[in-house]
Symmetry: C2
Subunit: 367 residues, 2 copies
């Protein structure tokens, strides 16, 4: 069912989207402020995928770049709408709605910013069902919608169109090169599709799920209940219905480097109770890719690996990880359409150069 | 006066353009073959700048990239026309003519390739009056025509549009990033202008001058006359009418590296006669930038520094320089419109980070 989103929903949505962003998807705080500012007291219509007209023109919008840069380099705010307008002009079409390409602090917000500025509705779905570091890692692409042509806008009004036909990896490669030269962050419009395409290729209802998750965590805190039970209950009726606690402990080390436009690194978390032993290692490329407990794999892409504060369950991005944080690490199952062989070829372990096979987080947990 | 160019003119044109390319502008052989193949027995109309309609739409076309790459990575041949078409579609205009952006082995040929394929005339002028390494180093830009928007095409049919408003340096920066990611070479259309703009901003009649130079060198060889006297005579009636012999000797060392999409380096030429002494050092970035004779400056950008074979006067590109070659190095004066303060700001010594002031080659020769 379609619904109306207001500025009051943004903190909960940002919290839930950051959890689903699995370490990436950009800084939640910046995104929230930009949308709240653009929206004022108005509301945005969020369209349920099942209710879209088959021929509705849907043009997703997003930010691309290394999270390391994004938290220091504030966007002017007009870039996402400029990217959308550039793509509309290039193709000679008008968007009937926009949509996120991923879940995450900023990339769940950018389409809302565009929606607020342009008076467009937003589709309650996305193309990653989490966050991934590359533009070609989309269920849209896996199930036959191409990312190209892509339009990209920079903070000084630069406009770039990249058209690589059916080669989405080349599109990502060129867009990344431009983004690096724009200082490490840019805003984009891509994956133009119809309402029928959305139903066939998108991960459905991830905006409403993010809002429900963020709200559940907040209410649990206010009512002094366990926020982890609240997360589990909020996930139960969704396509992400299996949650596993992978580890609890203290962040002991974070190694992070920004290379080729990505933030890559490793975080080590050690057990910190009186009788505690063992450690968890998380490897990330913008987002968390895999978790090894005492050297043994316990979760791997595309399943969600979410690091949250141990008491409040506030999600922590890979950029926010700091020595000494007390954290809990959650593994969350992803929908079936993200675990097919075609999907795993696009964003499973091999797509990140990891020498491991995918196994569902809930299966590994039973060993 | 406008004139017709046929395939029989190409070897002379390539030779002359390579001389004017002052070490850069791309490999002459590849360019010639591509145009000869596209042209067959037809001819191309070369329009004199004075005869252009004021409102003629002129869209220059070119190759961009490091010469090191260009000689190993053959273009598919369709890229320049695809770049032109992409820019036409983006702007909603049709080109009435194309034009070179620089003189040089390949960049005097690319517009002819487009002309042959599209049945367009070519304007007898260019925007550098030689070759320069960066797209913003254009008399077009110096005198008020902007390079942006630029369209770029890759060998696998990739199309990119870069629109940076009036910021031609940002356009160059982004286009260079895309070119690097396309493997180091791409084809472009940019600097859309009117016939009136051409008259105001272009270096006139450099195609016909290149053809005259190449022909003069060939005829002198055939008739056993000095090709150097022939070059001097061919230059006399042009805007490039002062030629100085800077040095004669043997190439003793070439240091060359391809970084950030450019070929940069230093060549050392030592005197090699029985009583000879001294050496000439040439520094280049794709093109020759300055010449020091025994440590003293004798020629500097934008004046032409041309390395040619000592006997035949065949021009040698920076990529073609090899240990042991017997060469003569010529300094050639550039037209006044390339030596104004505005022009020197765009492509004088400071624009290349050189800690020297411009002095005309013919003035330094009188010391």
């Amino acid at each position: 069912m379609s619904w109306e989103l207001t500025a009051a929903d943004l903190p909960d949505l940002a919290r839930g989207a950051t959890l689903l962003g699995t370490g990436g998807g950009g800084d939640p705080y910046v995104g929230q402020l930009m949308v709240a500012n653009a929206l004022g007291s108005r509301s945005i219509t969020v369209l349920d995928p099942d209710e879209l007209a088959d021929d509705l023109v849907v043009i997703p919008t997003a930010q691309m770049g290394a999270p390391t840069v994004v938290i220091e380099k504030m966007p002017a705010g007009t870039e996402p709408s400029l990217a959308l307008q550039t793509l509309e002009e290039y193709l000679g079409v008008r968007a009937g709605a926009t949509m996120p390409i991923e879940c995450g602090g900023i990339n769940s917000m950018i389409p809302l910013l565009v929606a607020a500025e342009r008076g467009l509705p937003v589709v309650d779905a996305d193309g990653m069902g989490r966050a991934f570091p590359e533009l070609s890692m989309e269920t849209f692409a896996v199930y036959g919608v191409h990312g190209s042509p892509l339009a990209l806008a920079g903070e000084r009004g630069e406009r770039v169109v990249i058209d690589t036909g059916d080669d989405d990896r080349q599109m990502e490669w060129l867009a990344r090169g431009v983004t690096i030269r724009l200082g490490g962050v840019a805003h984009i419009a891509e994956y133009v599709m119809s309402g029928a395409d959305v139903r066939r290729t998108a991960v459905p209802r991830t905006l409403s799920m993010a809002l429900a998750l963020g709200r559940a965590i907040r209410l649990a805190r206010e009512e002094k209940r366990s926020p982890f039970d609240a997360i589990e209950s909020a996930l139960a009726p969704t396509l992400y219905n299996k949650m596993v606690t992978l580890f609890e402990g203290k962040v002991a080390d974070v190694e992070r480097r920004t290379t080729e436009g990505f933030a890559r690194g490793v975080a080590k978390i050690v057990a910190d109770g009186p009788d505690a032993a063992g450690e968890l290692e998380i490897r990330f490329q913008n987002e968390n890719l895999l978790a090894l407990r005492d050297g043994e794999l316990v979760a791997i892409v595309p399943d969600l690996i979410c690091v949250v504060e141990r008491d409040s369950a506030e999600p922590i991005t890979t950029e926010g990880l700091r020595y000494g944080q007390r954290v809990r690490v959650l593994g969350i199952s992803t929908p079936d359409l993200m675990r097919t062989p075609e999907a795993l070829a696009a964003f499973g372990p091999g797509a990140f150069g990891l020498d491991k096979s995918f196994e569902p987080v809930e299966v590994m947990a039973t060993r």
